[in-house]
Symmetry: C2
């Protein structure tokens, strides 16, 4: 049960607000294993709802789920040079397979069980999956292979944050093989589109989509595409990426096929992933000082019903009515809070903290009047609570949930736009924004790693992406924000998680 | 695509039949990591269907899903003496967290990244879960906690078999905490019942349920209950277990609560699990020399439609009809095999190997007569194929699938009973059965570990369980099969996987 103590205000300390909220809303908890979190039932139910929707879309776009080993032989990681460079420094390494008791009664890894080749707990599965693909693919007729895996992965991060950066996290990783570059490119963009659609339509989280600069590219990829969302503190969160891997992995894992023309060619791969990190994004996109704000389509509880009664005689009557209301809302995820030891006020506090979209209060007087009290987690105008005929509430709730979903997306989009800056012509103005309240800065970039690096060092802001056409400014910036030379791209800069 | 070569016959070499079938039906494949398998899409879809049904039942019985860390600190495993004894010899141990390149260019675990305390990749999660429970539980009001986790676990097995015994496997582990012994006992029996119902009603796999003898008890449990199924070679497979853990773990992890009476008490725990091993059980319960036999309720494809045509002009007509049939069967998992390069015969072979319950063949002549050919994977009588009016097939398929489901369960039950032996009075007769075709032998047991061990050493048979009342013989055996002394229990003996 959430402790009835207010959160630190966002304006005071956004980071403290976030950590407190994750714990108080019982989404997750710290574990005794450094950097690993426990996802509690409320957080896990949210993940299940997100996963189920994404899984449906993956299947609709022709993908199949499979499962590959947790362990990667060290030599596999070594084969793709950039890949090992990217993951070697944060690897959980299995070296022994047995514990033994020493003469003085201590338990130690048995030296005799030392593995000849260490195993790495997967940080991502390109290597082992493409090794398997190379066994299964002979001819162009076997292509494309469109696979997805829901799994846990481990990256030994030094500084961790619940959901945002944890040593172990849950994710899905799509892995595909194609007969041509263009098909792979199309696939990587298609899946980026699936992510964007999910984030906007389900998480009510608007994203800027585009390509990563070389320095931010996935270790071993030809091109990396990304969905970038703006958080409540105006920092960016990379929420999902899709990679065109070219033939880099295919070459290292001998993933070849007999082409239609009769030759032998290396396949073209893509990979794409989203993780429990999105939960952090959802919290920081919509949350406020009272707690979480759940978009209805992924809310574990969409409507909570709080029965109000003083005397025991009233209890049965009011609970009976609550059950009637639940029965009348079959397509909606409802919950009756029938705890006896808690005041209605304490219940309201808890369900607001947990971000439940709608609350229905019903007491003996309401029943007599055939009305209920309806409260929306974020009201549209001033009114916190409405007294409405019960029948009207039941009939309108599905539409109200959809309207609220749209409202949250529009609110987040307006917030993002209010904190996005275009036509930023000087580096001074850029620093003023970034060192001030922050936000997304659209500006010209010459394309050089030096300018990118200089900005990162001086301001901690990075190029979040080179945005796709629809996000670009009406008139393309002509000069690089940093060096003033001719701009090769328009880039979105921001501080990021 | 399955290779059109027959399997080794079951009668010739059951074990070879099994291994070949898992590969040919594309359920799983060997991986480059010793003992770890790859679950291929057809096998993973089966697992998803099994998981979804079980998950629904867990939720219906009040459980919530959560997720706990992959890693267990070594000291946690040590706290429960029997528990560490049970798992120390097959542990994947993480000792380092970084790879580094040596001067001669070799990659090694960086000695400076050595962990102070090794981490064990979870073989099961009692320890870390009860540690977390102890943080969350203060009062009897916080109980019961009814949790479940879907996860991968690792046990470093020496001899592995696809699905049956792999180093890494997928499973669910339920973990609960209660205020009293009786409540915990009720829970462990309830979940055993959920397992049994699932195995019988979904996997069409009859099971004998009962209690494990002390030697076969889960490491750290008070009592272990089990579901034991008979495979096609008359060996037993332990398919799922449920444990009353008593207060053993609660004591070690300080899982205490303020009781209603005001005192402080240790909680009572249960844990229960089933794994991808059940897929092995499904294969060996129903499969035959032609391949898999999928029970309809978990079959990834329930009805496959094979369009038959010679000329290109016929192709559109026949495929159009196939799509019409699919559209007319909305609640059924269908698949149209429209591959052009394969003969109908090769397709029949492949779908029989994959155990699809029903096949519909449709060609131009059938369309003219408004009929289709219907074939059931295991016919009831002699008839392999029936020519039936299309409308009749469409109308009757849901019922046919249910009938086939029941047929498979009854067939498996009859098979098991035909290979079960009661009233086995002498040890000679017992050896004759076990050393011969095998089977389940119901016989008296005095309750001594010596008699149990003697049987195991001499025959490799073990006590599978002390069966619950409904499975016991009409008249209880009076003497121990081994020593002839007075029988304390009736036991089911068999060789097992
Ligand atoms: Zn520049
Ligand atoms: Zn005896």
């Amino acid at each position: 049960m959430a402790n009835e103590k207010a959160l630190t205000a966002q304006a005071e300390d956004f980071s403290a607000w976030y950590n407190e909220l994750v714990l108080k809303a019982e989404l997750a908890d710290y574990s005794p294993v450094r950097g690993c979190m426990v996802i509690r039932p409320y957080g896990y139910r949210l993940w299940e709802l997100m996963r189920d929707r994404l899984d449906l879309r993956f299947k609709e776009t022709g993908h199949q789920n499979a499962y590959f080993p947790l362990f990667i032989p060290q030599s596999f990681l070594e084969r793709e040079a950039k890949h090992v460079e990217g993951f070697a420094k944060e690897a959980a390494i299995v070296t022994h397979t047995r514990l033994k008791t020493t003469d003085d009664g201590k338990l130690i890894p048995d030296p005799e069980s030392k593995l000849e080749e260490p195993l790495i707990v997967r940080p991502t599965s390109e290597t082992i999956i493409y090794e398997m693909f190379s066994k299964w693919v002979q001819s162009y007729r076997d292509l494309p292979l469109l696979y997805n895996q829901w799994a846990n992965v481990v990256r030994w991060e030094m500084r961790t944050r619940l959901f945002l950066r944890t040593t172990e996290f849950l994710w899905q990783e799509g892995h595909t093989a194609h007969a041509s570059h263009d098909e792979a490119e199309e696939e990587s963009l298609r899946m980026l589109g699936v992510y964007r659609e999910f984030m906007e339509e389900y998480l009510a989280m608007p994203v800027v989509v585009g390509e990563k600069s070389e320095s931010e590219r996935f270790a071993g990829a030809l091109r990396t595409y990304t969905c970038e969302a703006m958080m409540g503190d105006n920092k960016a969160l990379q929420n999902g990426t899709s990679h065109n891997l070219g033939q880099n992995f295919a070459r290292q894992f001998e993933l070849k096929f007999a082409s239609e023309q009769g030759g032998e060619e290396y396949a073209w791969n893509t990979s794409w992933g989203v993780s429990t990190r999105m939960i952090g994004g959802l919290i920081m996109t919509h949350g406020d000082d009272a707690g979480l704000v759940m978009p209805p389509r992924v809310a574990p509880i969409q409507v909570v019903i709080v029965p109000i009664f003083r005397k025991d005689e009233e209890r049965d009557l009011v609970l009976g009515k609550a059950r009637e209301i639940v029965a009348a809302l079959p397509g909606i995820r409802t919950h009756i809070d029938d705890r006896d030891k808690l005041t209605p006020g304490a219940k309201f506090f808890e369900w607001e903290m947990k971000g439940v979209p709608f609350r229905i209060e019903v007491g003996p007087k309401d029943i007599a009047k055939e009305q209920v009290v309806l409260a929306r987690r974020i009201p549209e105008g001033e009114q916190r609570k409405e007294f409405l005929p019960e029948a009207e509430v039941i009939a309108s709730l599905p539409q109200r949930l959809e309207d609220y979903q749209t409202f949250l997306l529009e609110r987040a989009r307006a917030r993002r736009e209010a904190n996005s800056y275009r036509d930023v012509a000087t580096y001074e103005r850029f620093r003023e924004i970034i060192d001030g309240d922050g936000g997304f800065v659209y500006a010209g970039w010459c394309g050089s790693a030096e300018c990118e690096e200089k900005v990162k060092e001086e301001t901690k802001a990075t190029i979040r992406c080179l945005p796709f056409e629809e996000f670009r400014s009406p008139s393309a910036p002509s000069a690089c924000l940093v060096c003033g030379q001719s701009a090769a791209h328009e880039a979105v800069w921001a501080k990021a998680y």
